[in-house]
C-alpha cells in the first residue's frame, strides 16, 4: 500500500482501483444532510498552495472536513515564503507543528517528491509544475467509470495544451494502467517533447483525433506557462482545436466531454458543449471531493501513519 500520493506513474493498478472503489462508496455521504463522519477526528491536514487554485484546494479541505479532520490552508503568497524561506524549511516547520498530512501544490515539477522524501507523514501532490496531478486524474477516471461502467478498452482523447498539462500526464499513466487507450490531440507546438516515448497515440488533426472516441477531455490553454510563439492566435486555436458541437460529430454517439477547469470558454471549449448534455464537467467537481476523501482515508489509516 502507498504511503504518499505523488504520481500515478508509480501507483499500482490495484491501488488505483481501491481508491476509485472507496471514492464511489464515499459519494453517498455528499448527498446526506449531515455531511460529516468521524473517521479522521483529531487529524490535522495542511494544504500548502504555491499556485492559485479554487476547486482543488476547497475540494481537499472539504474532503478533510467531511471526514472530521482539522484543516489549515497556507497560501504561499501570504506566508513566510515571501521572506525567502525555502520549500523544505517551510514544510519541516509545518511538520514540527505535528501536522498529520500535507497536501501541496507547487509550480516546480518534482517538488512533491522532494517534500515526500523529507517528511515522515503522508504527502499528497495537488499538482507539481508540468509533472502530475494524481487526484485530478483519479476523479476523471471515477467520472468516466460512472458513465461507461468500466475503463478497459475505452478511447480517451485528451485535447489541447498537452505540453503544459500535468492533468494530461496523470491521466495518461492512470488510464493506461486501467486498460484504456489514450490519445493526445493538439498542435505540434503544444505536444510534449518526449511524446514518442509515451504509451499514447498522437494526432495533430482534431477530426482524426476525435474519431470514435468514448471520452473527449479538453484542456485549458495554459497561457501563463507558455513562451511566446507557440500559437499563432487564440482565434485560430479555437477554430482548429476548440471542442464544439461539430467537432464531436465524429466521436461515439454516447461520448462524454470533460474539462479539468478552469475553462477558457470560447477558446478550448464552446459554451454549448460546456453546458450541453454530454458535459460531465460539474460531476467531475463533485467526484473530486469523494476521491480526495478516499485518498485521505487510505493515507491516514492504519498503523503506518500512527
Amino acid at each position: 500500500m502507498f504511503t504518499d500520493l505523488i504520481t500515478l506513474r508509480e501507483t499500482e493498478p490495484e491501488d488505483i482501483r481501491l481508491l476509485l472503489d472507496t471514492a464511489q462508496s464515499f459519494k453517498e455521504i455528499l448527498d446526506r444532510s449531515v455531511k460529516k463522519v468521524p473517521t479522521l477526528r483529531g487529524r490535522q491536514v495542511v494544504t500548502l498552495f504555491y499556485e492559485a487554485s479554487t476547486r482543488t484546494r476547497v475540494s481537499f479541505e472539504n474532503a478533510a472536513k467531511i471526514m472530521s479532520a482539522d484543516t489549515t490552508s497556507v497560501a504561499a503568497a501570504t506566508s513566510s515564503v515571501q521572506k525567502g524561506e525555502s520549500l523544505l524549511d517551510t514544510v519541516r516547520n509545518l511538520r514540527a507543528m505535528r501536522i498529520d498530512c500535507l497536501v501541496m501544490r507547487h509550480p516546480q515539477s518534482g517538488s512533491a517528491h522532494l517534500v515526500a522524501q523529507a517528511l515522515d507523514i503522508p504527502v499528497v501532490n495537488a499538482g507539481d509544475g508540468m509533472h502530475e496531478h494524481p487526484t485530478q486524474a483519479l476523479l476523471d477516471m471515477l467520472t468516466i467509470r460512472q458513465h461507461k461502467g468500466k475503463l478497459e478498452a475505452l478511447t480517451v482523447a485528451i485535447v489541447g495544451d498537452i505540453m503544459h498539462s500535468r492533468v494530461a500526464r496523470s491521466n495518461l499513466w492512470g488510464l493506461t494502467k486501467m486498460g484504456a487507450k489514450v490519445r493526445f490531440v493538439g498542435p505540434a507546438t503544444l505536444l510534449p517533447r518526449d511524446v514518442q516515448r509515451l504509451p499514447v497515440e498522437v494526432y495533430t488533426d482534431l477530426r482524426r483525433g476525435l474519431e470514435g472516441a468514448d471520452v473527449v477531455m479538453a484542456l485549458r490553454l495554459q497561457q501563463e506557462r507558455m513562451e511566446r510563439g507557440l500559437l499563432p492566435s487564440l482565434r485560430e486555436y479555437s477554430q482548429r482545436w476548440g471542442i464544439n458541437a461539430r467537432a464531436l460529430e465524429v466521436t461515439k454517439p454516447d461520448c462524454i466531454v470533460m474539462h479539468p477547469g478552469p475553462m477558457n470558454r470560447g477558446v478550448e471549449i464552446a459554451d454549448d458543449v460546456a453546458d450541453g448534455g454530454r458535459s460531465v464537467i460539474l460531476e467531475q467537481v463533485t467526484n473530486g471531493v469523494a476521491v480526495r476523501m478516499a485518498v485521505l482515508y487510505h493515507l491516514l489509516g492504519g498503523e503506518a501513519a500512527a
Binding site: E28, K36, V37, P38, T39, H298, E303, A306
Partner: protein
C-alpha cells in the same frame, strides 16, 4: 489443526429468524413505522430475510436499509478497512422504529458505531437491536433486544456465520484455535 464445531444449520437459522420476526412484531405491536437496517456485510442479508418473514406473517412490507459503519469504527488508526460498502437506506428514518440487524454481537463496538452512524442519518423514534448470535464478551453497555442464539464462547474462539446470499450455505460454526499455538 484448528477444530470447527457447527452450532447452527440452515433449519435452525430459519427457525431463529422466524422467532425474531414474531418477537419484533409482538414488541412493536405490528409492522407500522418499522425499518430494518442491516449492518454490512452479513447483517444486510439477514435484514432482508427478516423483512420477508415479517411480510409473510403480517402482510405488510417493511423497508430495509444497509448500513456501512467503516467510517464510524474506533479502530481506524490500527485497522483502516479497504473493503468499504455503501450505505443505502431508502427511507427517512426520522421518527421511525429502527431495528438494527447484525449476525454476531461480541464487544458491542460495531453496534456503538452503527448507532452513531444512524443518528447522522436522522432521528429515529427508537433503535432496537436484533442479532443472530450473541457470543458475549461485551466491552460497552449494549444488549440486543432480539437474539437468535446465545452462544457462550472463549475470547480466542472465532464465530463464523455463513449465509446463502454471500457464501452459498447457511451455517454457524465455532472455530477453536490451534492448540499448538
Amino acid at each position: 489443526m484448528p477444530t470447527e464445531v457447527k452450532v447452527m444449520d440452515a433449519h435452525e437459522m430459519r427457525r431463529a429468524l422466524t422467532r425474531i420476526a414474531h418477537e419484533i412484531l409482538e414488541r412493536n405491536k405490528g409492522a407500522e413505522d418499522l425499518v430494518l437496517v442491516g449492518i454490512l456485510r452479513r447483517g444486510a442479508p439477514l435484514a432482508h430475510r427478516l423483512s420477508r418473514l415479517i411480510e409473510q406473517i403480517e402482510g405488510t412490507a417493511v423497508p430495509v436499509g444497509e448500513l456501512d459503519i467503516t467510517l464510524y469504527r474506533d479502530d481506524y488508526r490500527t485497522h483502516a478497512v479497504s473493503d468499504i460498502g455503501a450505505t443505502n437506506i431508502p427511507v427517512d428514518i426520522t421518527d421511525k422504529k429502527v431495528v438494527l440487524v447484525d449476525e454476531v454481537i461480541y464487544t458491542g463496538r460495531t453496534v456503538r458505531a452503527a448507532i452513531t452512524a444512524l443518528m447522522d442519518l436522522g432521528r429515529p423514534a427508537c433503535v432496537q437491536l436484533a442479532v443472530l448470535i450473541d457470543r458475549g464478551h461485551r466491552e460497552l453497555p449494549i444488549r440486543p433486544d432480539y437474539v437468535g442464539k446465545n452462544l457462550p464462547t472463549a475470547r480466542q474462539e472465532f464465530v463464523e456465520v455463513k449465509l446463502q446470499e454471500l457464501h452459498g450455505e447457511d451455517s454457524v460454526c465455532i472455530r477453536k484455535p490451534d492448540e499448538e499455538r
